[in-house]
Amino acid sequence: MSCPDQTTIDDWVCGDLSPEQDANEETHFLSCGRCAKRFDRLTGGEEIIADIRELERERDEYASALSRISETGQTLSETLFGAI
């Protein structure tokens, strides 16, 4: 199978191909080092990755407060639903 053109790679990165085409291109990318590098550069997602890092940083930093969430929820649930 020959390497796809740039448009096809762009479409694959954006998820714009049909399921069948998508699977075919993925099979190609899994074995073609040249294409894999090409599309890895296109993937982007820096903002998403930065947000995930932020999410994980907060989960670590606020671990002590977050660890009590379940306990607070149980107490609150009993209080609120006990009153109706």
């Binding site: 990318f29 899994l30 995930i52 999410l55 907060e58 989960r59 407060a65 969430i69």
Partner: protein
């Protein structure tokens, strides 16, 4: 059947919906309060007060989140006000600082970012349960994209090819973008 017995299944259903809502939003509310400098104890007071307000408003409907943008703004506004209340009480202590918080309906940049990160967290949880996203795909994405590990090392660690690591990163980002877009679209529709 007594009135209490009749009300019991209704109450149980409402309680289940409320707990689901609580589990979904509590970490975000704690995060907002902590970022505003509140102690763990005060952050939990904000959480309790916010959840009580949600309960009062939506208990009869037994649906605590309709997924709309209006709901998002309402919820963030409640959290913002509860944080402001806690900060005012803190301000009575001599060494604490107070900052006036915006009272508008529009969300601040920080609140928008909080929401975006929260939706992303939900997206990651969703991905973990979707067919087609094997645990190794998510691990490869995390190690390579989030932790900045070399693709070659990730491949060796997880027993996959380097190309498979690139593909994993691309597939996860692609799907996360879709999930966030779908969520935004649903918000706009309601």
């Amino acid at each position: 059947m007594s009135l209490s017995e009749q009300a019991s299944p209704l109450r149980a259903r409402g309680q289940g919906a409320w707990r689901a809502f609580y589990n979904r939003y509590a970490p975000m509310i704690i995060g907002m309060a902590k970022r505003r400098g509140l102690s763990d104890g005060r952050a939990h007071v904000v959480l309790q007060e916010t959840m009580t307000a949600v309960f009062r408003k939506y208990c009869d409907a037994q649906q605590f989140d309709d997924g709309s943008e209006e709901f998002r703004k309402w919820l963030m506004g409640i959290v913002r006000n509860k944080i402001a209340d806690r900060r005012k009480s803190v301000a009575r202590a001599p060494l604490e600082l107070t900052i006036d918080l915006p009272r508008t309906d529009d969300l601040s940049e920080d609140e928008e970012r909080t929401w975006r990160v929260y939706v992303l967290g939900e997206g990651l949880d969703q991905l973990a349960t979707e067919p087609g996203f094997e645990p190794t795909t998510l691990q490869a994405f995390h190690l390579y994209a989030v932790q900045d590990m070399e693709a070659r090392e990730v491949a060796k660690l997880l027993g996959m090819t380097r190309n498979a690591v690139f593909v994993a990163k691309c597939k996860v980002i692609r799907r996360l973008r879709e999930i966030v877009a779908e969520r935004r679209e649903r918000e706009g529709e309601r």
